[in-house]
């Protein structure tokens, strides 16, 4: 599903490596916490997984595709099969909730009737069906993050990565967001969640990847 072999990453030619010698495999359908101090490289690692950055060294394999041998033009199709949730949501502020969630379907060129059916269903799943016509700015942080999750899963991705999805939320909102991610896992999606929130990790024990200064210090 996800395979890293001797992966290194640096931002710029002469910059230091922020990820070093990463080697691990994430089995299909697994759930992993991604842990580590601030600056350890969690975001960088997730960026490699959702093709927002390319490794400067080693081999990253996502959904069976070895990225070092993949042309840039082939990446968009792969990106559509990976769902991403960000700490700061990254909703488009000029579009209402419905259209934000519909975005991946429109990018993929789905038919309008299918878009309407899929978006309606997924908004019901995250509990925001009544807010379909609201603008993102009119929603609470927790609601915005649930919209972002709806957008990330509306294409039924095989891999779902979340970068501190609860970082901006209070505990009840965070629990609700996390229960959605866990449900995706239960439905068979491979899920990776980077977090600082030790309370949530304690509430939901699962396998973890722990980073320290760009190195993998534990896996399991």
């Amino acid at each position: 599903m996800v395979r890293f072999a001797e992966v290194g990453l640096r931002y710029g030619e002469s910059a230091p490596e922020v990820l070093r010698d990463l080697s691990f495999v994430l089995e299909p359908g697994s759930f992993h916490w991604l842990l580590g101090a601030s600056g350890a490289g969690k975001t960088s690692l997730l960026r490699l997984m959702h093709l927002a950055a390319r490794a400067t060294r080693g081999e990253v394999e996502v959904l069976g595709v070895a990225l070092s041998r993949t042309r840039r033009a082939a990446l968009p199709a792969l990106r559509r099969r990976v769902g991403v949730v960000y700490q700061d949501f990254r909703l488009l502020p000029h579009l209402p909730v419905f259209d934000n969630v519909a975005l991946p379907l429109r990018v993929a060129g789905r038919a309008p009737h299918q878009i309407r059916a899929d978006v309606t269903e997924i908004l019901r799943w995250v509990g925001l069906a009544p807010k379909a016509d609201a603008m993102p700015a009119a929603l609470s942080g927790g609601e915005q993050q649930r919209v972002a999750i709806a957008r990330a899963v509306v294409m039924r991705p095989a891999l779902l990565v979340a970068d501190e999805p609860t970082g901006n939320l209070d505990i009840p909102q965070a629990r609700r967001v996390l229960s959605l991610l866990r449900e995706m896992h239960r439905l068979g999606t491979t899920v990776v969640v980077a977090t600082h929130a030790e309370t949530l990790v304690a509430e939901y024990p699962a396998a973890s990847l722990r980073l320290d200064a760009g190195r993998l210090v534990s896996h399991g």
Binding site: H50, L51, A52, A53, R54, R72, A73, L75, P76, A77, L78, R79, R80, V84, R90, L92, H94, L95, P96, F98, D99, A102, L103, P104, R106, V107, A108, P112, I115, D133, R151
Partner: protein
């Protein structure tokens, strides 16, 4: 629902950042310039070809009334510069002079020989001198000097018009590129989100290019529409110069003399420039994304 569908087709919010005011207005002004320049080039070309024809028959040789013309015609025909020497029809001459001399022309008319030249002489005055020497008693009218100069002027006007057209197209490209860059800057985050969701460069660039082509085409169309009556007015003012008459009303203007084919090409040509400029600008910018 219509609002939602309209927004759905415009996820980058380009209707806001590439507004339907500024860009079309700028391009409209340039379309107007282009149309005027185009018509100028066309007019200069028309005048040049007309004068070329006129210059070819530009020399006339006048002999005294009653003079024998056969020998003069033979001598003139023999000159290499002269393609044809022809005796002007006395009836036509009389008709030309009627306004001044009246119906009953009492005075004897001079014999007039019209010369068609093989090509425009470099020095018409010298040619006139040689003709006068070969045909005794001839008066040579060499207004070809002036026609040749006007012709050169018309040709350079034509060249200037083409250069101006190229310049306008270049400025339009620059203006469009600036507008597209401003659009990218305003929608940087949205572009990044679309890219992250798996949109291809072609998809994102195509959305910009479609919007820009539409706005630019619209602006150029507006400029052309504004230019049309101005051009018709010019054509009207020029009409007497080529044997026409001045119009009495708007509908009477010489609309059919406008370079319609070229004018009709302006909006699509502008739209194409806009489309290509947006595509190139976007694709270069998107290269920085992984």
């Amino acid at each position: 629902m219509t609002l939602r569908r309209a927004r759905g087709r415009d996820p980058l919010g380009l209707r806001r950042v590439l507004s339907d005011r500024l860009l079309p207005a700028l391009v409209g002004a340039m379309g107007l310039l282009a149309a005027l320049t185009l018509a100028g080039a066309r007019g200069a070309a028309d005048l040049a070809s007309r004068w070329e024809g006129g210059a070819a028959t530009a020399l006339t040789v006048q002999l005294a009334p009653g003079a024998a013309t056969d020998r003069a015609l033979a001598v003139l025909e023999a000159m290499p510069e002269i393609a044809e020497a022809r005796l002007a029809d006395p009836a036509r001459l009389a008709a030309l002079l009627r306004p001044w001399l009246g119906d009953a022309i009492a005075i004897p008319l001079p014999k007039v020989i019209e010369l068609r030249l093989a090509r425009l002489p470099a020095d018409p005055a010298a040619l006139a001198g040689r003709i006068a020497a070969l045909v005794p008693g001839a008066q040579v009218e060499a207004h070809g000097v002036w026609v040749a100069r006007l012709l050169a002027l018309a040709r350079s006007l034509q060249a200037v018009a083409v250069a101006a057209l190229v310049l306008v197209a270049g400025i339009a490209t620059a203006v469009i590129a600036v507008a597209v860059r401003a659009g990218i800057a305003a929608r940087r985050d949205a572009i990044a989100v679309l890219h992250a969701l798996g949109a291809t460069d072609a998809d994102i660039a195509g959305r910009f290019a479609g919007r820009v082509a539409w706005l630019v085409g619209l602006g150029a169309f507006g400029g052309t529409v504004v230019a049309a009556p101005i051009l018709a007015g010019f054509a009207d003012m020029a009409a007497p110069l080529s044997g026409g008459r001045v119009a009495e009303g708007l509908l009477d203007l010489p609309w059919q003399r406008l370079p319609w084919a070229e004018l009709a090409l302006l909006p699509p040509a502008a739209a194409l420039i806009g489309w290509v400029t947006a595509q190139v600008t976007l694709r270069l910018w998107l290269r920085r994304l992984p």
